[in-house]
Symmetry: C2
Subunit: 494 residues, 2 copies
């Protein structure tokens, strides 16, 4: 950084957010808040308690410190604190939960159901729609070994999607189990420690089924695949027989949960871990059934894999099934907005004891985008009634008017800029999306009246070539000052 005083000029800092960060204004804030408030209401009803951890953690607790290097991992924002401790901004809400579960293990109820909503930070390359600070919204149950906990979270996720405005039929929660997949790996002869790399390729290939289709995934399971640009991705090198086993697993989904689990039992053969996985899926299906969550909301789908090493049992994902137009104008399904699963080793890092845990993370920005796509994003975004200032010396009168309006619960402002140019005041009202401007000049004040200008109507008239249809609705009315509140209420109700 150059010397602020160089060149003898006064130093002017750049008025910019750092690269990859952004500001949120007005309805961007209130719409997200309204959505999260509704989700919190569901979580609360399910007995989940809020937890707000600090944004700053020790790098040690986050687990992003590699023993071979003297700096924390890339990917986190970190700095060297006092006492030679590296500090960092949390990169998700799960790592802090694991720390809390270990730190307060003697005080927290067990099982501990908690939800958390807030920003997380990633020191990654920003891109279109990808920021270095973004919201997460998580719910986890720590200390519950039973898959009843997983079933509960799937039901809660379904309720959460509906409460924010995704109607039943426009989403589906898909459930799978990593143990079944492990069983399939055994059957395909991919179980040993020496097959780690192959299993990784297989998992990543399955994750791409929606994008690449059967043929593309088959190629990745076998020798490899050349993409449209000509780039070659090395495959897992599976034989045709092995590939058939894996592909059979991905396409094991049947019309009903019972048929799907029957098919899975065939696929996992004598694998013990596989059988355990299918049993768990059956249990989850039966528990959801008993709560009234049918296939119109939650289904078993062996195509769901969700990433790599993290998960140890059930995994789940919420997909929005309605179509939107992508950037090229093509129809496509909206896709995934939430996902999670069972992970049993995060607390163990701290205590040495394995603690079963399961949880879901909702993609806040994606779900908000979905709601906006469905026209359901709108929170209360009404602009204020603007009381204009015709006579600077009668500011007290104008402030009396806004006070009256506010007392009636109406959002209202007096114009506080330089009142000299009345056009500027109307421009201001326009920028504020104000529905009504209140005007009182000297003549009106003497007569004890105010003028109400219907700005929404005014905008509509301005858009229309013909005035005909607005003729019988005046864009401006004069009412007694004493009737200000009732007249504004009437105009707002139109």
């Amino acid at each position: 950084m150059s010397d602020p005083k160089s060149n003898g000029k006064t130093f002017r800092p750049r008025a910019e957010t750092p690269k990859g960060f952004r500001d949120y204004f007005g309805t961007e804030v209130t719409e997200r808040k309204a959505m999260l408030d509704k989700i919190a209401q569901v979580y609360h009803r399910y007995g989940f308690d809020p937890l707000e951890t600090s944004a700053v953690e020790t790098v040690e607790a986050l687990g992003k410190f590699l023993p071979d290097v003297d700096r924390p991992n890339e990917g986190v924002f970190a700095w060297l604190g006092e006492d030679a401790d590296w500090l960092a901004l949390r990169y998700d809400l799960t790592a802090p939960l694991a720390r809390v579960a270990a730190q307060y293990r003697n005080d927290l109820p067990s099982p501990y159901r908690r939800y958390a909503m807030g920003p997380v930070w990633r020191n990654e390359k920003p891109g279109p729609g990808r920021f270095r600070q973004f919201y997460q919204c998580d719910a986890d149950t720590v200390g519950a070994p039973s898959v009843a906990a997983d079933a509960e979270i799937c039901a809660m996720l379904s309720d959460a999607l509906e409460i924010v405005g995704i109607p039943r039929g426009d989403y589906v929660v898909k459930v799978n189990n990593r143990k079944v997949l492990n069983g399939v790996m055994e059957v395909a002869g991919l179980a040993g420690d020496d097959k780690d790399s192959e299993r990784g390729i297989v998992l990543r290939a399955i994750d791409k089924i929606d994008r690449l289709g059967d043929e593309g995934v088959r190629a990745l399971l076998g020798a490899g695949r050349k993409d449209e640009s000509g780039d070659f991705t090395k495959g897992a090198g599976l034989s045709d027989a092995q590939t058939d086993v894996v592909m059979g697993f991905i396409s094991a989904k049947r019309a009903t949960g019972a048929e799907t689990t029957t098919r899975l039992r065939e696929l996992i053969g004598t694998s013990v871990i596989g059988a355990e996985g299918v049993d768990e899926l059956e249990m989850i299906a039966s528990l959801l059934d008993s709560q009234g969550y049918g296939a119109d909301r939650i289904i078993l789908d062996p195509g769901v894999v969700r990433g790599l090493g993290y998960y140890t049992g059930p995994v789940y994902e919420a997909e929005l099934t309605f179509e939107i137009l992508d950037e090229k104008g093509r129809k496509r399904q909206f896709g995934s907005v939430a996902g999670g699963g069972r992970y049993d080793d995060l607390v163990k890092r701290f205590t040495g004891q394995s603690v079963p845990a399961t949880g879901v993370s909702i993609g806040v920005d994606r779900l908000l985008a979905a709601l906006r796509a469905k026209g359901r994003g709108a929170a209360d975004s009404a602009g204020p009634v603007v009381v204009t200032v015709m006579d600077r010396d009668r500011m007290a009168d104008y402030m009396g008017m806004v006070a009256d309006l506010r007392r009636a619960g109406i959002r209202a402002e007096v114009y506080l800029g330089n009142p000299k140019n009345f056009g500027n005041q109307l421009k201001y009202a326009d920028k504020r999306a104000s529905p009504i401007a209140v005007i009182q000049g000297g003549t009106e004040a003497e007569a004890g009246v105010v003028i109400l200008k219907d700005l929404i109507l005014g905008a509509k008239i301005a858009q229309n070539a013909t005035l005909e249809e607005w003729k019988d609705r005046p864009a401006q009315v004069q009412v007694a000052r004493a009737d200000l509140v009732s007249a504004v209420q009437k105009m707002l109700a139109q």
Copy 2:
């Protein structure tokens, strides 16, 4: 940091927040949220829009970079980002507002009314009740030169305090004007640039009037003051006549605003800046009067100074006037919970152009503490109904029960820990502050009934020596499974 693998032992990270940071659980989160939601409702009604800036700013934009040193100021958490830019966590909500006002000056409405609520970070020595991350709640108007903007914020602050539960009479918003103080400095012969240090001592002395009383402040204005421990604080070295002028200003408050401004006019003599200040105070009083904010809510008080260089005009402060017991059991007034004023030079740093601004910051933690002291903190902190698990194989039945309860809007959980020890389940229910435990063993299941255990009543019985008074209210009832929801509703309503 030592090598994680040293000693051949597995490395276990410490499960701790960094020093000076803390976690917030359950009602700590919901009570603060409920309070901020109510305040936001008032701000919204006044036409203020929410703004959420990123937690991370360039140090350059925050203005905490000193040209002589190669690291940012102490007091902020900062690190060197890519591109050799220093990044830092915001230390308040005003500096980011100044950046936003400059960055978006062509797009924002002018005047721009915005509110912001969120955490800020200070790299300062933590202490009891002092943390390195805490909430601020600000409302500011940028671009409004008129003191009508200051009056509006005082009225809004008054409304905000009342809506969260501080009754009228238990608080007062005090208004003063730095220009009056500057006028008094002129009269006292302390106006020149060479008197900077004396003015600083005078300002700090006035700020201590509540704690030190007249005599202590007089000593600080004069030669200096020895405190109880024997430490000596050097005074401003004012003559008796100068001291009288300053003390006259502090004690200029009269029964009515009109009497106070009359007294202030006497004190400021022929000072032009002082006269401007008194005019502004009169204007503010008149504007508040026109909105119905009388001396029971907002008063002129020349004793309010609010810190040093920052403010340029009106300053204001909200004080809670009810008494609490301090840590030594002595009665004292609760004191200040919010403050602010007019500052005209923050945006200028970026653009070179002076932009008038005024705003208030509510001390979120202090106001929350006040509400708790008044017994008004409670949000919905009811624990969930806990459905216990008597028979592991009938988990589906138990989950059906909680689903029924939730559908009726009742917060409910099934016990998800190991169900073997029933005592653990009741201990869990106790830890969750559960009002009711639902029990259904095999016998009850066959009979189609459930047992409801009134845990609140049970706790009361446990506290009481005699059972007499509870005799006619059984702590446990048996109802038909079909009546579960209505019976729970009835019990909760008791």
